[in-house]
């Protein structure tokens, strides 16, 4: 991220390659819609390129990207609410089967609730420790650990059954 902030295109390429999965999975947890998730993921990286100068070297680049992804996801949710008159709105989140198909991904979306999804994505894909996730989500570390374990068990069981 530091090299990207200096305008290094190759560094940006590496950054994109290393983080796109985590960003996409995180955004899916909010939007539950393939098109919106793709659009917002793209927007995250456009925003990173546009605001690279704001990144302070030495600080947690993941946290910076995470915040951007969250804000853009929430923006999209708000836009979606404004576009559809209230009396036509069913619910904020689109049905989960609008997400793209993938074996483990499919299992996750069938079995995990929103919080479990976020915890699993942050740990498995973003590399955050349970304590760090607890701080981010305002949860005790023990709760994060138990929810993560439970989420893994659910995924494993569902995977074996399928």
């Amino acid at each position: 991220m530091t090299d990207t902030a200096r305008g290094d295109e190759e560094a940006f390429g590496l950054l994109y390659e290393h983080t796109r999965r985590g960003v996409y999975a995180f955004v899916c947890g909010y939007l539950k819609n393939e098109q919106d998730a793709e659009d917002v993921t793209q927007d995250v990286y456009i925003r990173i390129r546009r605001n690279a100068w704001q990144y302070k070297a030495g600080t947690d680049a993941r946290a910076w990207m995470f915040q951007i992804a969250k804000n853009l996801s929430l923006n999209r949710l708000r836009e979606r609410k404004r576009e559809v008159p209230l009396h036509e709105q069913r619910e904020d989140a689109m049905p989960v089967h609008n997400l793209p198909q993938g074996e483990v991904f499919d299992v996750m979306k069938r079995t995990l609730d929103a919080q479990e999804w976020e915890i699993v994505v942050l740990h498995l894909l973003w590399g955050y420790r349970h304590r760090e996730i607890g701080e981010k989500l305002s949860l005790p570390t023990g709760t994060v650990t138990s929810k993560y374990k439970r989420a893994l068990e659910k995924i494993k069981r569902a995977w074996e059954e399928s």
Partner: protein
């Protein structure tokens, strides 16, 4: 499957789902330094104004309505720097004016040490924010960039400044160099705060002349010193500036129009709208819970509600159609928490929320009708009843608003200013979430 295998498989799948960086991403240049105001729009936000919410019957809250109204006007936050009391201006200590255009708008007078000495609202939205006298006091005695950033933060908290919004700053000082220096420090102050939030706020800095600043503030002055004095001596609130010479009857009429049928009505409408949306959401959850409980595929033997199933049968094999209902309920609960800041992740908490809004629920159709056609007459007629309805959910806030409304029309300029300021303060409290703490 081990955790390691899971991670590997997930990465593989997501690798296929997410494409390589495409032209749309790569065509955006990597910006390596803070863009100056003179730089082309490519380095600034594409959006040139804060989001204006649709003003349909159901869309938006009061912050959206106020923002929509305020956006129509050019707004200015003026920071005036000057040496006020020295008979001879010393070159190194003498500045001019700094105009920051943001919604809301306020004028800042700053002394030779770059400390803010006075703040005055320039539009109704700023009246609302600055009506909190503690906050107003906190803006003075600190460096200009700190004060401006604090003001912008409060505007963001109240929903006036949103992601993608623009802050325009015009500086008029005794030299362009001083103007630029001041612009840079204010911009840095804003960027320091907003960059940590992930928000994108575009910044536009311009060196302006004294005449332009006078136009923005709505005063006339022959010199920067005179302009500074005018700003220091002007009342802090716009509503306090246009009542000079009004008699009691005219004051009452103005209060009725702007406060009783303006600010109060907007505030109460926003509260009603929020209640209506919550009731709709709770009813939807209730209906789905009933469906889940009655579903023949529900694995529970006794307690068949959604929350009990999640608690005791989460690991059970569920029929796919039933599992989808459970997932839909997960989404509704998460959505409710996201929209309204309340968890309903247990039957008890859901019931508690439902009971809290039961009074509103009983008259939700009536509320929907009010929201679509809330005339001043209807507002006056129904206000007591509405306050009773809202009491359960906004107790302290509606009690204060109700007490203020009951005071009736002000008869003197002092009463007008005091009552209007209090009304603005309550409104600001609601917008920044203080009322619902």
């Amino acid at each position: 499957m081990t955790e390691k295998e899971l991670r590997k498989k997930l990465n593989e799948e997501l690798g296929k789902m997410t494409p390589p960086a495409d032209e749309k991403i790569l065509s955006q240049p990597i910006v390596v330094r803070a863009p100056l105001s003179s730089e082309p729009a490519a380095t600034q936000s594409r959006r040139t104004e804060s989001a204006v919410r649709k003003t349909s019957r159901f869309a938006g809250t009061m912050r959206g309505r106020i923002a929509a109204v305020a956006m129509a006007a050019a707004v200015a936050l003026c920071v005036l720097l000057g040496v006020f009391f020295l008979p001879v201006a010393l070159p190194h200590a003498s500045y001019g004016t700094l105009v920051v255009q943001i919604n809301p708008a306020a004028a800042f007078a700053v002394d030779e040490d770059n400390k803010v000495v006075s703040v005055s609202a320039l539009n109704a939205d700023a009246d609302i924010l600055l009506a909190d006298e503690e906050f107003l006091d906190a803006l003075t005695g600190v460096p200009a960039e700190q004060s401006v950033a604090a003001f912008a933060v409060r505007a963001e908290e109240a929903g006036f400044l949103q992601d993608g919004g623009k802050v325009s700053v015009s500086a008029a000082t005794e030299s362009e160099k001083q103007s630029q220096s001041l612009l840079n420090s204010v911009e840095q102050g804003l960027n320091d705060f907003f960059s940590s939030t992930g928000f994108e706020i575009s910044f536009e800095g311009v060196a302006a002349g004294m005449e332009q600043v006078c136009d923005l503030i709505g005063v006339q002055a022959q010199s920067l010193g005179e302009l500074v004095e005018k700003i220091r001596s002007m009342p802090a609130y716009t509503f306090a500036r246009d009542i000079a010479g009004l008699n009691a009857e005219e004051l009452a009429a103005l209060y009725e129009e702007r406060v009783a049928h303006g600010l109060y009505k907007d505030t109460v409408s926003a509260l009603l709208e929020e209640c209506y949306e919550r009731v709709q959401a709770l009813d939807e959850m209730d209906a789905l819970n009933e469906e889940i409980a009655a579903d023949a595929q529900n694995p529970a033997l006794v307690a068949k509600d959604y929350w009990s199933v999640r608690r005791f049968y989460d690991d059970a094999d569920m029929n796919p159609a039933f599992a989808e209902k459970m997932a839909r309920m997960d989404a509704l609960i998460a959505s409710y928490a996201e929209r309204f800041g309340r968890e309903t992740d247990s039957y008890a908490s859901f019931l508690s929320e439902k009971i809290l809004y039961s009074g509103i629920s009983a008259v939700s159709e009536q509320i929907a009708s009010w929201l679509s056609d809330f005339t001043d007459y209807l507002f006056d007629l129904q206000l007591d009843y509405i306050f009773t309805l809202l009491d359960d959910v906004f107790a302290d806030f509606t009690e204060q608003l109700s007490a203020l409304y009951d005071r009736g029309m002000p008869e003197t300029a002092e009463e007008y200013i005091e009552q209007t300021r209090e009304a603005c303060r309550l409104c600001g409290l609601y917008l920044t979430g203080g009322a619902q703490a």
